[in-house]
């Protein structure tokens, strides 16, 4: 899309375009500015105050941020959040890439059936998915305990969601099943768009399947990989419903997202400590911004 040089447009035309452009943008802008941009600035401002539920508070500078780094629960939830991101991002990417390369050449119905099945956990919705997994992990009537006991792997029932060190892995597993759907759809379409003439030329020259994949397909699907890395990172950072419904942050499964919610809405020493919670939100946003930028950088260099 070549940008028209300004000089060729008369000033009257520029004015006309600007007015009509904003007329079309207006309805969308009301919602965008009102419910995304303005709250974003309020969030940043509030993070610098001692605001709570009934009191706008006073300006305290970076005090909330200082306090956060001495807050053991926050450091714990930061650690868990990073654990989730570090484990789930590579596994989701590798898994969805493998599934997509196995299915993208299949005939129409088989392809859409597989794509659909892997997408279903996303569509089912976090609440329905979590409720059924909670039952499967249950201490007494859960499927996992029954199967593991039946096959002789374990002797006594494991309290999966109540044991620190195990619970977080259960959450990572469930998060995984609800995260691969979108990457698979994206990879299937990206692999389908790989230049076939290059692949055929390489095959004629005697390249192995592995070589064709890494030397030809991989560079071409790089933009998709990048996009998937970013959305999976954001998605993993936001892991909330699973925590809230499964453990309520117990068994060492607190994440930043859940801790924000907890600080703002649950009874803590200072009920609804908004300034503090907003400071966490700002930190989370900074981490996500940095990671996204880093991933773009890395991908560009390669």
């Amino acid at each position: 899309m070549a940008k028209q040089p300004r000089s060729t447009m008369s000033r009257a035309l520029v004015r006309r375009e600007t007015i009509s452009g904003y007329m079309f943008l207006l309805p969308s802008l009301i919602f965008f500015l009102g419910f995304v941009i303005i709250p974003m600035f309020i969030c940043i401002y509030t993070s610098l105050t001692s605001a709570n539920m009934n009191d706008p508070g006073s300006f305290v500078g970076f005090q909330n941020f200082m306090d956060l780094f001495h807050d053991k629960t926050f450091m714990m939830s930061l650690k868990n959040t990073f654990l989730i991101v570090i484990v789930s991002v590579p596994t989701v990417c590798a898994f969805s890439l493998w599934v997509s390369s196995a299915i993208y050449k299949m005939k129409g119905p088989a392809l859409s059936a597989f794509r659909c099945i892997f997408y279903l956990p996303v569509v089912t919705g976090s609440v329905a998915v979590t409720v059924v997994w909670k039952w499967m992990f249950d201490n007494y009537t859960g499927l996992f305990n029954a199967v593991l006991k039946g096959s002789g792997v374990i002797k006594d029932n494991i309290n999966f969601l109540g044991t620190p060190g195990i619970a977080i892995w259960c959450i990572i597993l469930i998060l995984f099943t609800t995260s691969v759907g979108q990457p698979i759809v994206l990879y299937v379409s990206a692999l389908g768009n790989v230049d076939q003439s290059l692949v055929e030329a390489a095959e004629v020259d005697g390249a192995t399947n592995m070589q064709v994949f890494w030397k030809i397909k991989w560079p071409q699907i790089m933009p998709t990989t990048l996009y998937i890395l970013v959305i999976t990172t954001i998605n993993s950072f936001q892991c909330f419903a699973l925590i809230q419904l499964l453990t309520q942050g117990g068994s060492d499964t607190n994440t930043v997202m859940y801790y924000i919610y907890y600080t703002a809405f649950k009874l803590t020493e200072q009920a609804g400590h908004f300034g503090y919670a907003n400071a966490m939100g700002v930190i989370l946003a900074i981490f996500i911004g940095l990671l996204s930028a880093l991933q773009f950088r890395l991908a560009k260099e390669k």
Partner: protein
């Protein structure tokens, strides 16, 4: 032509087998919800897992529908409290089980979010793609940045804003932020860029006004995009548990997800009841997804191009 060696063939077969096993594992939770919803209590509490219901019963659904009741539909008129001092409600229909009311709320919320998003995003996407106005680049960068921001970060200011507008605990408090989310605008811009400038120019020369150009030329050309965005918004809005959780507080305003989640917190042992609730929450959205799958896939891939 390439001669397939024995090894690649073996690998192909193996990968299909693995895929089928994985597919079964991915479908299993859904299977467990559906069978669980129809299992009698004996099966639910059995120490040995009962893979298939010994008897299909609708007892769980009877319980679910017997729990609470509410008018079928009751809608707070937006901003009525700010204008008249008290919330004005439309109330329609007979008294129904609470779960049905939750379902009606969810459908209303998702459809409303869908219509508003499609309408505003189609207009804005067209303007961003085809109009050369002052501040366009700035606005577009703002949109791209906002897309990377997790929605939940702005949660607290959003709630305070909603309570200042007297919208807290109404479905509008969930709908408006969904409409404001800039993904739709971004998606529609991608589609609108495909409209040839000559056609718009020709319409202008022929004396068609801005609105006429938009409705008769632009809209038909971005129709596939609107379809993709519509289904995408509908499903996301239906499943946006977090927003619903923080914005809605009274039982009559609950969505189905929120209702089931609350039920889970109250009676975390009655698995049959919970599975019936989960089935009720998941079934409609899965059916919608299966019907419009094609547009949905298109929406996901289009959003990623140049993303």
């Amino acid at each position: 032509m390439k001669i397939t060696s024995g090894r690649t063939k073996a690998y192909r077969i193996l990968s299909v087998v693995v895929l089928i096993v994985l597919a079964i594992l991915f479908l299993f939770p859904l299977y467990w919800i559906i069978t669980g919803a129809f299992k009698p209590a004996v099966d639910i509490y059995a120490t040995e897992p009962v893979w298939f219901p010994s008897e299909w019963t609708k007892a769980n659904f009877d319980k679910l529908f017997g729990m609470r009741s509410a008018p079928l539909w009751e809608l707070a008129v937006p901003f009525s409290r700010a204008i008249t001092g008290e919330t004005v409600y439309f109330s329609v229909g007979p008294t129904v089980p609470g779960a049905i009311r939750w379902l009606v709320n969810t459908v209303f919320m998702s459809v409303m979010a869908m219509i508003l998003t499609c309408l505003t995003a189609a207009m804005a996407g067209y303007a961003l793609a085809k109009k050369r106005f002052v501040g366009r680049t700035l606005l577009f960068s703002l949109i791209v940045c906002a897309m990377a921001l997790p929605k939940q970060v702005i949660l607290i200011p959003l709630i305070r804003e909603m309570s200042a507008l007297h919208l807290v605990n109404t479905l509008w408090a969930v709908i408006f932020p969904t409409v404001g989310w800039p993904f739709g605008v971004f998606l529609m811009k991608q589609f609108a860029e495909g409209i040839p400038g000559e056609i718009l120019e020709a319409a202008r020369v022929d004396g068609a006004g801005e609105i006429r150009t938009f409705t008769t030329i632009v809209l038909p050309m971005v129709k596939p995009g609107v379809g993709a965005l519509a289904i995408f918004t509908f499903i996301n809005s239906w499943n946006d548990y977090f927003m619903q959780l923080v914005m809605l507080s009274s039982n009559a305003n609950y969505t189905i997800s929120l209702g089931i989640a609350t039920m889970q917190a109250e009676t975390s042992v009655d698995m049959g009841l919970l599975m019936a609730g989960a089935a009720l929450a998941a079934a409609p959205i899965i059916i919608v997804f299966l019907i419009f799958q094609k547009y949905f896939t298109q929406g996901i891939t289009m959003g990623a191009v140049k993303g």
